[in-house]
Symmetry: C4
Subunit: 505 residues, 4 copies
């Protein structure tokens, strides 16, 4: 915010009529939190595309702006000369809100929400969130790339792994604690980075910070958070550990500033996203509304008009598609934080990562939001570990997996195969969206309870006992479909039916 | 029951108003079968959790208490000093029963029940039981762990085994008899242990005893029966054989007493449950009703409140999570009964069992009620037998399998692969719940008829002729899923349809 | 029929009232085609069980009797002394037929039947038959054993075989003709034996005889035909070839008489059924009606009451369960017809058949009506042929396959793998039941047209060009199921949807 | 058209009544575009069968004739002596058009069509086309052979191929261009040949010509286009490249004329169809209407009456079933255009094609419209390339694939495996049918946008970087089905359900 603006007397407030005149692509003002901004020059650079701003040209954009921009956004990205000062909000014409039957139904669903105690597993939070979230917010969180095959495969892949449990082991005391990048945690999962937390809850990512604290797990702070980085760091307590997920900007100075600021603020690990040189097409999200907010923030290349302008436009400046292995030494030169690559998808690149001296990798396909038909992280893990073990390299690097984890059995499977820990994203977003912090708390507790029980049932009392002999992965890497259905044959088959009740008396 | 209480004159009966005052956690009395008990101190130890008792604090709990506690429970577990004597039941205020539309519909379904002769296979009893059982009882019997993947896999696994039948063998006379732990039986299945028989039928497990007698098969008596152990033993006739399923108590003296009592009463085999150091989460059961009775008896760790109290609470004292291989010699020292491990799930542990000198194992995952993604017993059998045969150990141990058996072909498959017999649990519970003893009788007879027929059709006239060359198990160990559905593609595909009838004249 | 009876004057006709007195198990008369019979002594021997006869004790049974007994049945199986002579039918009380709403609906469906030209493939006839056949007749034809897994697998198995077609081969002229057991046929299928043709069409199996003639294929005459053997042989024209399917009677003299009579009447091949020492349980059929006729004819052991009487009862005298390899030389001694074993299901038995000098085998599981989880004939074929070829025995025996053939591609697949021909049963029954001879004719013509086209498309102009390199069978022998469905996961997944239409204007 | 006819004065016009007299098989006139033709002698030669013409005997056939005959058809195929001259159309009785409720509903659906921008992928166009196309046109485009297993498998096969993407590669600039048969194209797909474009859009194939120009891809001109060959060539602009798909006529002179005319007109490649010695049975199409137009054009053998006349009739003269490898040198002698075989389906034939010196092959099964259970082109590709590479022949021939391509990932998969490019047919037809040229334009643009993004996400910046290590094809060649469904088991299973909402307040 413009300092001078803060000192201006009320008399100098802008009037609604004045702002309303600047309502087109050549001359575009918007009001945010009671202040006017001239965004004309910024329009073509807006990561979410110009259209969504133009919709509010000359008007108050606060409600739409709020959930998807950290509070320091305007200060950071808009030159102070464009900060036009306070607006007398009583002079601003309010759009008559139409009655929206969808919204009314949603409010009804909120009134009838199940109580928190009715959620017995992570899927339950998702079921509730789906009913009570705004449609566009749901679409943004829940969508995946293209046909969403990879997104669904992520969880399904765990179903191809079966246990070979041990019996008659003393499992009275179960210790779920382990260490990730030197941090002792109570259970081997971390809260992975997901964007735009305020779409689900007005407080945003700091709720996840508090949940992570309560259960002593690490939170990975997303570049595209709704809260500002500092707000999220400020929300941590004591020696709570946080990591940073990083989209690398074309302008390496910006990146350097972000990285070094994070290190100064105590962040314990730098996770460079390497699976998103361009952000994926999420059609469910695109379809959810033309003028949808969420859909455009990341889908910089997804909007029709923009797409037809080709690649240059499709690549937003805040993610550098030219990022390559050659950049790794530079990162190593600017920070002492452990550096990890997030989004590695084949063993060859894990080998290379070890050779480059990075501290870890996350085997991940970005929650199925980028390349469809990318394999699941857990499948890649099963490909990676035998090769690392053969070379004796398994302790030269930490291996994390994310994508599709919903049950403690999923966590255990990953650890049996050799992962140091797993990242969980959407489930906590859904828990937060439906029930706030208590939801996140319960979700984490459910995982702990499930995991303690399953550790007992698999015959292991501590994390270091988990090993490959406890799982059967023979079906894991088979991507098959069945022969297309025999429609005519099925039509004429008379399915078996059980005993019929007597007809009503 | 308090002996003195029995001698008290009517004048000394307690009044309802008096009992009703003790209606909270700090002071809690309940009435069972016309007698009052002070259970305040017992509340925290109740395996089903305190809440379910508190619901009846100061009231008559008989109806709920009855089906899930053996008659000797109060004598065994509640100190005589807490037995408060008879209550004048006419002074006890009866809860006005609300009209329950669900219950009315169930009564209507009972009136329209198919007659017994309409049940042609074991699934049919389940279909009827599902309609006529109380919802909570059905939920308790039918539920499995987590996503119930293992529970369903148990039967499905048999579908991956196909026959290679022999032809032109004289199969006029079929002999289904075989020997299990030295007992001659008429057909190679036994009634395996399942808890809380009175939920399905007021008489409880003794019905199974009678059914087993009629068809000359062994019944395994469950630790958690609704009838008392002695009632079940008393119900046997002649030289009828019974086995005991044992949950090992932390207090080994209790366990010793149970085991030696069983041996004295003529029990022919001791099956130590090794797949349940903690009882599994059965969400369907938990969800069926918050205040549900059945759901809490075993799910000692499943209730929300309790779970959040962590592991100490989650482990009920009556199952010792510290049970380990080291305990086996002790068992061998206290009994001469054959000792078997129930719930073995991988070949390494079968090998170890042989080395420890136990007489047998049951390859089982507890009917899919414990660890989800545990493999089916039949799959483990296919892993175990070749290893045993290679070592020449196949006759050093008896191998049983349970889980998912519904057809005589399932039994034959298990025996072809090398099992000595199979355990069947839920199907007989369902037959009993729907039709009582005649249901159990018919269910067993159907299996015999199916098996006799299928022995003929596979070309074997006696059990000892069954061998691995008669089955094709190549698909058995493949745990695969298909690629997630191509939703958009399926949406636009116009399925084929057969010839259309003329429009109505 | 009683000769004397035939000579009795009208005055001597029995009266309805007289017959009606003999209406119980101890004294049971029935009327068939205007004549009375004392069947009291025969009751326990009736292959369909006594109950179905008792239903008509003292009454006219003609309508039920007719479709399921060849005309010479009473002469053959009931001693002449029990033939009581003509009945004055005007004195017989007619059962008041109840109005049957099911039957009325069926009549309506018949009125609206698609015309024959709307049937474009074999499944279409089945679709029509299902709508227009009597429910019990449909249940008898369409049912399979147990869970009907094998019955469905039979056709599904063909879906696992894919083509590797040749191109640029001159396929102007296609010759579909081949030779089976020395008979030249126009296309390599034969009409295999199926029981009780009159359930579908009042004329019965002779319709199939005429259809087979028209398309120059062989008909296999069933032991359990509705028409008598001689009627079916009489219906053949010119040098039309027929084979005989034989259930071997315990009384070998009866069998000998049947076989030698068949040879005398010109039958060209003897197919001894070896997969039915006991007839299978077809629950769909059993369920279709308690008092159902069709269901009892073969399911001699299937009826509840009877089943509980055990094995002795379950084995009908007309099929000898003791039939074994030792009987084969005897068959070879009583006939010069080629002898084939119908129902062979593994390579070991094919080898043995060759060694015994039989002329052929039918790889078959009896249309899925006997042993559930028997593999499909086509799968067994893929197991058998490489072994035969390795030994150089492929021309020492003719190999046929039946079960699940619905498309010409199925026939071609079987021939590519090495079969000499395939048997087709139910599809022609359905065509006959829906449309009579024109239906059978069209069904056969459709197969010819399909086959001619597909021969062109696979790049072969004659049967002898078909060979294993033209098919890919790698998936054939895999009997897998997918991991049980992830119910909760599927519930919360928001399926993709295409573009929405505008709301109605 | 008859030149003299054009010069006749109005007075000489034929009258409707006159034409109407010639209304039977022995004497059949029809009116097309205001002129009468005597087609009596042509009836038996009509590729679509005589019935469809007879329906218009003595009447105006223009509306039905128009979309499925190129404008020069009558001149080419009907002797001038049969051109009878102009008709006074005011004297022609118009058939009273019945109100067709289906058509009214379709018109309503057209009014409510989604706008073009709502189509986000190729399936979306199909979804819209299905709603707005005429039923018979939809049936013609969308149908496949027999059970349509191959048609569906074509796209499904791509789902069995998964990516192994590279990370940290500079993918700022993506170059999608490549070369096909010497022509530089902007993206490695071409518009493959599909028949009867006017069924979907009155302008027909020239729309595809314009779309191909706009995106600089090659169009393959179909023999059975609705537009004439010259119209389509005339529609190209500048150096736009076109290829010709050829059905080889029995009369090689006709074929020679077509080929040499194409070469003269600048066509750059000759694709000889080798998978259609006879046109396939497409039952969906046949069923869509008895008198349907589209269904008969290609299904010359499909109509009942015709089929029963056997093979001679079934083979239309315009496709020579005798075409064989021996004809290839002749083609090489009559043209200098590159010669390619379209419809190759196994590696042996690719080898042979290389040996014969042809320039390329298209691995294709004709869009699943010919032989059912033919494998997908992409699967054949995976069989072919390793063999070619082993011989070092991969650059001696260009390999194309078509069938089932719907996503840019499908294109990338084919190129990774070694294809030079892929053909896309139906999706552009659907885009054209729903939205005309803008639809085709957007469809192509969407593919480009998808492909550019996916190239980035797979870590490749140009086509030549695509290679087999980027894909996992282990599941590709497995054609399996699952064991038939356990109907009874599924019936009795109580599926899990999530938390229930409170009942309505």
């Amino acid at each position: 915010m413009n300092r001078e603006g803060q000192q201006q007397p009320k008399a100098k407030q802008l009037k609604g009529e004045e702002v309303a005149k600047h309502n087109n692509r050549e001359d575009c003002w918007v009001i945010v939190h009671g202040r006017a901004y001239d965004v004309t020059a910024f329009l073509p650079e807006h990561p979410g595309g110009p259209n969504i701003i133009l919709k509010y040209a000359g008007k108050d954009a606060t409600e739409t702006y709020e959930p998807i921009h950290p509070p320091d956004t305007l200060d950071k990205y808009l030159d102070k000369s464009k900060h036009l000062g306070e607006v007398n909000m009583s002079t601003v014409k309010q759009d008559q809100k139409e009655e929206d039957p969808d919204e009314q139904e949603r409010q009804e669903r909120i009134r009838r929400m199940p109580i928190l105690e009715q959620c017995y597993n992570l899927m339950d939070f998702e079921a509730v969130a789906r009913r009570v979230m705004k449609k566009t917010a749901w679409a943004y969180y829940s969508s995946g790339a293209d046909d969403e095959i990879t997104m669904r495969e992520n969880h399904t892949a765990f179903h191809k792994i079966w246990f070979r449990p041990r019996i008659l082991v003393d499992v009275e005391k179960i210790d779920l604690s382990t260490t990730m990048l030197g941090t002792k945690v109570d259970i081997p999962f971390y809260v992975t980075a997901t964007a735009l937390g305020k779409l689900g809850n007005p407080e945003g990512e700091v709720i996840l910070t508090r949940g992570a604290k309560k259960h002593n797990v690490v939170q990975m702070i997303p570049t595209l958070a709704s809260c500002s980085f500092d707000e999220i760091v400020d929300a941590k307590e004591g020696d709570q550990a946080q990591w940073l997920q990083l989209y690398v900007n074309r302008d390496r100075e910006i990146t350097k500033r972000i990285v070094q600021h994070a290190e100064k603020r105590g962040v314990k690990g730098l996770f460079i996203t390497v699976d998103a040189p361009q952000l994926g097409r999420r059609e469910k999200d695109m379809r959810s509304k033309f003028s949808d907010v969420g859909s455009n923030v990341q889908n910089t290349g997804g909007h029709d008009v923009d797409r037809s302008q080709g690649a240059a436009r499709a690549i937003s400046s805040f993610i550098d598609p030219a990022l390559s292995w050659k950049d790794i030494p530079w990162f190593q030169s600017i920070t002492k934080m452990p550096i990890l690559l997030k989004g590695v998808q084949r063993v060859e690149d894990v080998i290379r990562a070890v050779e480059m001296g990075v501290q870890g990798v996350v085997l991940s396909n970005h929650g199925g939001r980028q390349l469809d038909f990318a394999r699941s992280g857990i499948e890649v893990l099963a490909e990676v570990m035998p090769v690392l073990r053969e070379r004796g390299w398994e302790s030269r690097i930490e291996i994390f997996v994310d994508g599709g984890i919903r049950r403690a059995t999923d966590i255990i499977k990953a650890l049996c195969l050799g992962a140091n820990g797993v990242g969980i994203g959407r489930p906590f977003l859904y828990a937060m969206s439906a029930y706030g912090l208590p939801g996140v708390d319960r979700a984490m507790q459910l995982l702990k309870d499930e995991m303690e029980m399953n550790m007992r049932l698999i015959g292991c009392s501590s994390i270091d006992q988990l090993n490959p002999s406890l799982v059967d992965t023979r079906g894991l890497s088979l991507h098959s479909t069945t022969v297309p259905a025999d429609t005519l044959g099925l039509n004429v088959y008379d399915a078996l039916a059980g005993p019929q009740s007597k007809s009503k008396l």
